[in-house]
């Protein structure tokens, strides 16, 4: 029978490879059998709190085996999981949880105190208090679910200060992972070196290749990425052969020319996504590693699960040309629409829109935002059909490949983090309620810039200390420009176009 739930895929893998390693983090490792036991124990405790299905369970844990077990436990209980960033300041966690209204939160001793700082009234499951010998309840609610029910909710930066919860169904993940596994020939022999945080959609690929094909997921400790030489040692020590990382990490290794001295012979597949991969740095990887390695450029926003357009690097690669985002994945259709809602011709720029099973169900508790980007396909006049409007501007070249140009709005990408400049601005103006300010992005320096109107200079330290309390570190501006008077348009609003030009020297 065709599998309709991610737990069915997991159980089939557990049956096939019970004693094979499933997950390895910085301190422990679990076989598939051990992972399923842990997940079932967590599911039993979720069910004790509530018998509901399809309600969100927040997972407030760092990237660990326990986080994976909590994701699976949530799905066993027939609910959907939401990973939260343990590095986020309390106000952002509070904003997310207030919009999410989870049925419970899973955490451990170490992170409990952070949650207690938030003003919340939610049940908490503390994993450190669970008894491993407890008898689990084997009647799992996931059997009541259908394949269009939500599996997880991931939060992305929102322009009004409240992050948007993107709701992804079981069907979308099944559609995506089967495509990835077939396209990149993934088996139980894959040793996946995970880099991206579980709050990123890129981690979906890493996690579910383990669940679908019995690959082993190595959750690489975060400090290895601070010191790339130690990262390469880790790869060799664990014989990692598959990676799907943000370009920033690959670029850092290339800039340091580390592959000249530190070879990584086990690596066979190198995928990247989340931001633009500079071809010069990719060229360094291609020249430094063996010839047979597969390089895949993976493009796609959280709202379409993972990847909708991809490009496998071939002999036509030229380090002086930007890398195409490529061709659509199987069971995905791309429409590039111009301002008149018509299909663009070859070479004509337009907004990339997506059609297929990969589309998210929408934004959690936010019908208004959902309806502005998940819209009726303007080319279909006969029956309701949703497309997702990405806000990304692309064009199709003569070879039938899509080429990425930029954004329609104020969203940027930094090291894979999707950031809406509006969200940063919202928090800055709420903390510094007496100043007028705008947030910009210096593309050349990849730097978030705050421009503020003030008679006196405000020390950078004062800005940063206050902003640390409300914003994630990657969202805090790194350059501060004081102006006596900000340029304004005739309506009295900040002249963003002018300031943006000045900052980017256009």
């Amino acid at each position: 029978m065709i599998k309709i739930n991610l737990i069915e895929y997991f159980e089939s893998t557990v049956d096939q490879f019970p004693n094979k390693l499933a997950v390895v983090d910085g301190t422990s490792q679990l076989t598939f059998k051990e992972l399923t036991q842990r997940a079932k124990l967590i599911a039993t405790h979720i069910a004790k709190k509530s018998d509901a299905i399809n309600s969100p369970v927040a997972i407030y844990l760092p990237k660990t085996n326990d986080a994976i077990a909590s994701f699976l436990g949530t799905m066993y209980s027939g609910n959907c999981y939401t990973p939260l960033d343990t590095k986020n300041p309390a106000p952002r966690i509070e904003a997310i949880l207030k919009a999410l209204k989870p049925s419970c939160i899973i955490t451990n001793n170490k992170f409990l105190a952070n949650l207690q700082k938030c003003d919340l009234d939610v049940d908490i499951i503390n994993l450190d208090e669970l008894d491993g010998n407890e008898k689990v309840n084997e009647s799992y609610n996931y059997k009541k679910c259908v394949d269009t029910d939500p599996a997880y909710i991931l939060h992305t930066s929102g322009s009004t200060g409240v992050p948007k919860g993107v709701v992804i169904s079981h069907l979308s993940i099944i559609d995506y992972i089967n495509w990835v596994a077939d396209t990149f020939d993934i088996t139980e022999n894959e040793k996946i070196g995970n880099q991206t945080p579980f709050i990123f959609d890129m981690s979906t690929l890493d996690i579910y290749l383990m669940i679908f094909r019995g690959a082993t997921l190595y959750i690489i400790p975060e400090h290895k990425f601070i010191f790339p030489a130690t990262l390469l040692d880790y790869i060799n020590e664990h014989e990692i052969n598959f990676i799907f990382w943000v370009p920033a990490v690959l670029v850092n290794i290339a800039n340091l020319k580390l592959l000249d001295t530190n070879k990584i012979p086990t690596v066979k597949k190198v995928l990247f996504g989340g931001e633009v991969m500079p071809p010069k740095h990719l060229s360094y990887w291609i020249k430094s590693l063996e010839r047979k390695i597969v390089y895949g450029n993976m493009y796609g926003p959280t709202e379409i699960t993972g990847t909708c357009v991809y490009h496998i690097v071939d002999d036509s690669f030229n380090e002086d040309e930007s890398l195409p985002i490529g061709i659509p994945c199987r069971n995905t259709d791309i429409l590039v629409l111009n301002d008149k809602e018509e299909l663009c011709k070859v070479g004509e720029q337009g907004e990339l829109c997506v059609r297929g099973s990969s589309l998210a169900l929408g934004y959690w508790n936010n019908f208004e935002k959902t309806n502005t980007v998940f819209v009726q396909n303007p080319l279909n006049k006969s029956v309701p059909e949703r497309i997702y409007r990405t806000g990304d501007i692309v064009f199709l070249n003569e070879k039938g490949e899509y080429i990425y140009i930029g954004r329609k709005d104020f969203q940027i990408k930094l090291s894979g983090y999707r950031i809406d400049l509006g969200e940063i601005e919202h928090y800055i103006l709420s903390v510094f309620d007496t100043i007028n300010a705008g947030v910009f992005f210096d593309k050349a320096k990849e730097e978030i810039v705050l421009v503020y109107e003030s008679e006196t200079e405000i020390p950078v330290k004062d800005f940063r200390i206050k902003l640390m309390e409300v914003l994630s570190k990657h969202m805090i501006p790194t350059r501060y420009i004081k102006m006596d008077v900000l340029p304004k348009s005739t309506t009295g609003k900040i002249d963003r176009a002018l300031l943006n030009k000045q900052i980017n020297n256009i």
């Binding site: 030489a229 580390l258 950078v460 990657h474």
Partner: protein, 77 residues
């Protein structure tokens, strides 16, 4: 040299007091972006080129560690 190093560190993360800590990494005072910026600043200021294989926790956990790294790269003052 010590003052210069503390100035660079403070420019990158003004919210921390780097003269008071000797374990920048474990205390979460520097992440991968910060190390990239710091190495770029040190390379430029002291006209050296810190090798990727030298970017290790022991060389960046304290001001003393950074001084030793600079010494190894021929910086004496």
């Amino acid at each position: 040299m010590k003052e210069k190093i503390i100035t660079f560190l403070t420019e990158i993360r003004p919210e921390f007091d780097f003269s008071e800590s000797s374990n920048f990494i474990e205390e979460g005072m520097l992440d991968s972006f910060d190390i990239v910026s710091l190495v770029a600043s040190l390379d430029e200021e002291f006209e050296i080129s810190i090798d990727g294989t030298e970017i290790l926790p022991e060389n960046f956990s304290s001001v003393e560690g950074i001084i030793q790294l600079l010494n190894k790269n021929g910086v004496t003052e």
